[in-house]
Assembly symmetry: C2
Homo-oligomer: 206 residues x 2
């Protein structure tokens, strides 16, 4: 089978690092921000605007499914969101079709579910561990108090949850939607990536 | 570190088989029904009665925690349940202390959490896959209609959930309580066990 691995993750859990290391270990493509750049190329939207939409997804008006037709509504902002998601879905499908890859976030597990049965990973960790991880990676001048970091983590995850649930009508992080869920609390991401990669390298591949 | 692995599982997901194979692959002890036999040896309760209590846990009167003292109540049935759980907790701790092992079910993840930081696995699968697995393993004369099997699966899992949540005050199957959650839908349990075992065998051990 083609190796398409999707990684969804709580903010600060190390999911992105796990995905990147996994792609490195397996010598396959890694897609993350590249998807947004590709959307920008194919549409009239700027990369900055797309980032805004994807990361700070405006409050949706009503739930839709990818399968539904994308009919125009009377709300231009909403139409733009739909257009970006549609483009994103197409790009993700193309990427998965063209080569083995790891795709982080972007509802890729759901988008690819029927097309290529990706191996779907969800990465999470205790809040304390995520706060600590964010603190270690904070930029200079950033408020690194536990309160502030925990608030930011919750806000970002709320956005991810809302985005995922809006476009998929499934519960973000619910085990039913993934093949494996990995708790990174107290774990070494490098080792974890090697272990997951090993599952795809030998004859015991899933 | 000592290798203590706990396996909680949805009924019909193959969790017990995964646990047994894992213990075989790692050449470590496997505890499941042995725990009940040990309780019977240490108490006045028959094995049959203990099985009834553990598998068809009567409706509890109020939630308790393991840490609480087990004071006598005015309800003999409830007292017996508490006594059995107390014995079970002690036996599980002894087993984990004495040797590397795999322990299936029995709130072992929670009981051992503070003592020896077990590697906590939760095994699950889609309902269709669990129905199919139960059908393949049905005894002669058993009603193997999808409706009947699905009903039985739901009933047993309801009991497991209630039992776990009563004694631990945590949510059964919620990812926060485990190190890894494995979806066995469409997977070969033998291969899965080998993969998990490999994580404990080499230098990349978690």
């Amino acid at each position: 089978m083609g190796r398409v691995i999707t990684v969804a993750r709580q903010f600060g859990s190390g999911g992105r690092e796990l995905g990147r290391r996994l792609a490195d270990d397996l010598h396959i493509a890694y897609y993350d921000k590249e998807i947004l750049e590709e959307i920008a190329k194919r549409t009239d939207f700027s990369l900055h605007y797309i980032q805004q939409v994807v990361e700070k997804n405006p409050v949706p008006l009503f739930p839709i499914h990818i399968g539904s037709s994308f009919t125009a509504t009377s709300n231009p902002l909403f139409d733009q969101n739909l257009e970006i998601f549609k483009q994103q879905s197409e790009i993700i499908k193309e990427m998965a079709h063209n080569s083995d890859c790891v795709i982080v976030g972007r509802c890729a597990d759901y988008i690819l579910e029927k097309d290529c049965h990706p191996f779907r990973i969800f990465v999470y960790a205790d809040l304390d561990a995520r706060v600590e991880r964010c603190r270690l990676r904070a930029k200079e001048g950033e408020d690194t108090s536990t309160k502030s970091l925990a608030k930011r983590i919750r806000q970002i995850d709320k956005g991810r949850r809302r985005y995922y649930e809006f476009y998929t009508s499934k519960t973000w992080g619910a085990k039913e939607n993934y093949d494996v869920l990995i708790n990174t609390t107290g774990k070494d991401i490098k080792k974890l990536a090697r272990i997951v990669a090993a599952n795809f390298e030998d004859e015991t591949s899933l």
